[in-house]
């Protein structure tokens, strides 16, 4: 009696022969790293916060430029006013972001059912806030440093983005239907 080898492979499930290969435990984290690296400059939609940041940076730049050229600001009064304005700008930006972050955090709390997840994000936010506080000290010590100002804004943006992303994730999970497409 003979059989056609091809028939052996036609009907059976595709993966019943090479043993059960399991992905290593850390494969997901590794993939996330690779994904982030491959998308180092992701195309994001131009969101209002980005525009807001741009506008704020522009104002700051002009303010600093004005302040750093003493000949252009002969009067001490203007000098002080400009100085105040740098701090005021940063504070405004900060206030806006913190309000948004708080709003997103509340939304996240109402969405998330997983205590561990909430704790993990609480910790992440706390770490970012600690960084922020130390950067604020640097900023107060030297308000000319644009890099510090940028880092401050970046820190706030990271928190906001993190909260938004996890919410999208939770929403998709909640919507997930049971009808999955077969691979084969």
């Amino acid at each position: 009696m003979s059989q056609d080898i091809r028939d052996l492979f036609k009907s059976d499930a595709p993966d019943d022969y090479l043993g059960s290969h399991q992905l290593p435990e850390n494969h997901r984290e590794e993939f996330i790293q690779k994904l982030k690296a491959s998308r180092a400059r992701p195309q994001r939609k131009l969101n209002p916060f980005y525009l807001f940041k741009l506008a704020a940076m522009l104002v700051l730049f002009m303010a600093l430029a004005f302040w750093l050229w003493p000949s252009a600001t002969p009067k001490a009064k203007v000098y002080v006013a400009q100085k105040l304005s740098v701090e005021a700008q940063v504070e405004t930006v900060e206030r806006q972001y913190l309000a948004s972050i708080d709003h997103e955090w509340q939304r996240f709390l109402s969405l998330a059912k997983d205590e561990q997840l909430v704790e993990r994000y609480r910790k992440k936010l706390k770490d970012l806030d600690d960084d922020y506080q130390s950067m604020t000290k640097q900023f107060k010590a030297n308000q000319h440093n644009v890099i510090v100002i940028e880092s401050l804004v970046e820190n706030l943006q990271t928190r906001l983005r993190m909260l938004k992303e996890i919410q999208v994730h939770i929403t998709i999970l909640n919507e997930k239907t049971t009808t999955d497409e077969a691979v084969f």
């Binding site: 993966d15 494969h27 996330i32 239907t177």
Partner: protein, 181 residues
């Protein structure tokens, strides 16, 4: 395709990393098993992940006429083959014996042989034949697809498959002591 899958694909096209991760979670394990047919576990994982990154990069090329799984599988297999090629495996090596293959499409073996035994013998074939035989038998690709995947002329793919098949039948005969038909 399910609505949810469509949604994930469309979000991924827009660059949503969360949706990409969901696709990875959904297909990763299956694609990893496919990659394991060609590579060891470590390389299979890398090829699978690189394949996903390529797929996400070229998601605009995905036509809903094929299933997403089949499209992804093709990319992962290409990635595996690329990795094999990096190991200097020559698929296109031709020798004087390249001949116009007569249509002796005889895949008959002893009926008592099991799939497991056949697979064990496939693993013992020389690499260049093994890959073609796997693409044909396990993945179900035809010569046209195989020649594209391996970037070789169809004739070479036919020749490799023919030699692979003959060697496989001999191996099965010698190992399990049964006659080739």
């Amino acid at each position: 395709m399910s609505k949810h899958l469509n949604q994930l694909i469309s979000l991924s096209k827009k660059g949503n990393e969360t949706a990409m991760l969901q696709l990875y979670d959904r297909y990763g394990a299956a694609m990893f098993r496919i990659a394991n047919r060609y590579l060891n576990e470590e390389d299979a994982k890398d090829a699978m992940q690189e394949g996903f990154l390529k797929a996400f990069k070229h998601l605009d090329h995905f036509e809903p006429t094929a299933t997403f799984g089949a499209w992804l599988k093709r990319i992962i297999i290409n990635q595996c083959i690329d990795m094999l090629k990096k190991r200097q495996l020559q698929f296109t090596e031709m020798d004087a014996e390249t001949l116009l293959v007569l249509d002796d499409d005889n895949w008959k073996v002893e009926s008592t042989l099991t799939k497991k035994e056949v697979l064990a013998s496939i693993e013992r074939l020389p690499m260049k034949y093994r890959v073609v035989v796997k693409l044909y038998l396990l993945e179900g690709y035809d010569h046209d697809e195989i020649s594209h995947i391996l970037n070789m002329p169809i004739q070479t793919s036919r020749t490799h498959l023919r030699r692979g098949r003959l060697q496989l039948q001999d191996l099965l005969k010698n190992t399990y002591n049964v006659t080739r038909y």
